[in-house]
């Protein structure tokens, strides 16, 4: 019977151009799918639809001016991206950073991480077909955005970090608002589980789909929650602690299943961990100044510098080659999304279009981050 079917029923492979305008590609990502019916044979990608060449722009900008450009990479973890540049310059110039700045940075980091994950959760539900999650995710995100707006002056591209500190001191309402948020979010997170995580259809859609082994995850350079779902320990906050992460107690979430559901669970658990960090640090903000005076013109000594931070999507890195001028000679932005996207072809082979959409949203791509 099997032979009969394969002999007589010939199927023709065809190409489907998914994107650049497509609801599931989270922006202007273009995927070229080679399909047999609904089954994916190969995924090829074409990028660059919103490439702004930030790396080239950085080569003509002073270090102070670079900071705000990194907002525009992964706009959902803009604070972490800023922080990477600031930490790099501070390390290169040996600027001593007071504890208060470190704690503020860490607090805002974790709030950013939660807001990014919450948005991801909403969009994840949308991609799978549960449209309501989007608004529920935005409810929490709105609270965080309000905190940011009050303290930093903007909601998305916050540009709060400056070299040598943060732009403004914490707003007087900050601590109270964050505490309110923690109480609120602790009530709402279990709702996320009942609504989506424990839903039979949802689990059936994700479990065992998009498997990637630990070895492959390392080889493809997967990072962030996507890699941790495969059992790779890669949390920069733990491995190379920066800012105030060394004084907070938290666990690195590691799952070993390596499928889409594990990637989903990692992010949900990470929100709990972020809450833990917030709870520990919110009462212990040291007194002091919010900004260290730096020189008007910052020149890095000649050499190579690298700074990594754990952005919401993973291992974000800035590599600077300096020749001693006030502009970097070469600045490379290592984006987590780009590395995660390279493994897409490996993950989706032999699965269906619907699975591709689910996987694409579990690796949580942000296209400006990939296109840079």
């Amino acid at each position: 019977m099997e032979e009969f079917l394969t002999d007589t029923l010939k199927t023709q492979e065809y190409f489907l151009n998914m994107g650049p305008q497509h609801p599931a590609t989270h922006g202007v990502l273009r995927l070229l799918l080679k399909l047999d019916g609904e089954i994916i044979q190969n995924v090829d990608m074409d990028l660059g639809y919103i490439h702004r060449s930030i790396e080239k722009m950085c080569e003509r900008d002073t270090y102070k001016q670079i900071v705000h450009l990194t907002d525009r990479l992964d706009y959902l973890s803009s604070h972490m991206n800023n922080e990477a540049v600031c930490l790099l310059v501070e390390k290169a110039l040996n600027i001593e950073i007071p504890d208060r700045i470190k704690v503020i940075r860490t607090l805002v980091d974790e709030l950013t991480r939660i807001s990014s994950h919450v948005l991801w959760w909403g969009v994840m539900g949308m991609d799978i077909g549960a449209l309501t999650t989007f608004m529920y995710g935005f409810r929490e995100r709105e609270m965080i955005n309000d905190i940011f707006e009050e303290t930093c002056g903007a909601r998305l591209t916050m540009n709060y970090n400056v070299i040598g500190g943060v732009r403004y001191d914490l707003h007087e309402n900050f601590v109270k608002r964050v505490k309110d948020f923690i109480v609120h979010f602790k009530k709402k997170l279990p709702e996320y589980d009942t609504l989506l995580s424990n839903n039979v259809i949802f689990r059936k859609r994700l479990e065992g789909i998009g498997y990637i082994s630990k070895e492959d995850a390392v080889a493809y350079g997967l990072n962030g929650p996507a890699a941790r779902a495969s059992g790779v320990s890669c949390d920069i906050r733990k491995i190379h602690p920066y800012s105030a992460y060394d004084r907070a107690e938290f666990d690195e979430i590691i799952f070993t299943e390596g499928d889409s559901y594990a990637r989903y669970k990692v992010r949900i658990k990470e929100m709990w961990e972020s809450l833990r960090i917030l709870e520990q640090l919110i009462d212990k903000i040291p007194e002091g100044e919010h900004r260290v005076k730096t020189k008007a013109v910052i020149k890095l000594p000649e050499g190579d510098y690298l700074q990594r931070v754990e952005a919401a999507r993973g291992d974000f890195g800035v590599y600077v080659k300096s020749t001693g001028q006030k502009f970097p000679y070469r600045l490379k932005l290592r984006s987590p999304g780009f590395a995660n996207l390279t493994a897409l072809n490996k993950m989706t082979k032999g699965l269906k279009i619907a699975d591709l959409v689910a996987i694409l949203s579990t690796i949580d791509i942000v296209v400006p981050d990939i296109d840079r």
């Binding site: 660059g48 080239k56 070469r330 490379k332 780009f338």
Partner: protein, 153 residues
Amino acid sequence: MTNTELKNKIEILSENLIFSGEDGDFLKIEVDKDNLKEFMKKLRDNEELRFDYLFALTGIDFGEELGVVYHLESTKSRKLIQITVKTADRNNPEIDTVHDIFPAAFFNEIEAHEFFGIKFKGHPDLKHLFLPENWDKGYPMRKDYTDINMLIR
């Protein structure tokens, strides 16, 4: 493991290695472009070192010569090293591909190719990824590339 110890372990893997930055954050190694592929393979497969995570692959225009900087991390010891490889030929720069050693390098090499014009020998698909498919105005990230639309200060 300090950088000096690491240096001693890496030294024996290949010839013509130039080390620097022992007292810095990470060890910097400059490798001959003919030895690159072999050296990378050894770095990955060496039981003690296990530099198996390609953190970043950066194309650089050094002015006179073009080069690629690899940042490798070991998932075992969590040490980071920087490997630089240079080629003096600006018109036809060729460097061995490492995408068969680190699959992560596949798209990064395409990126370095289209922005710097570095040809990766053995790479199967050096297409235009970021730039338009009919792009023929040179390599935009090179230092000698000029664009009238670019804001110069």
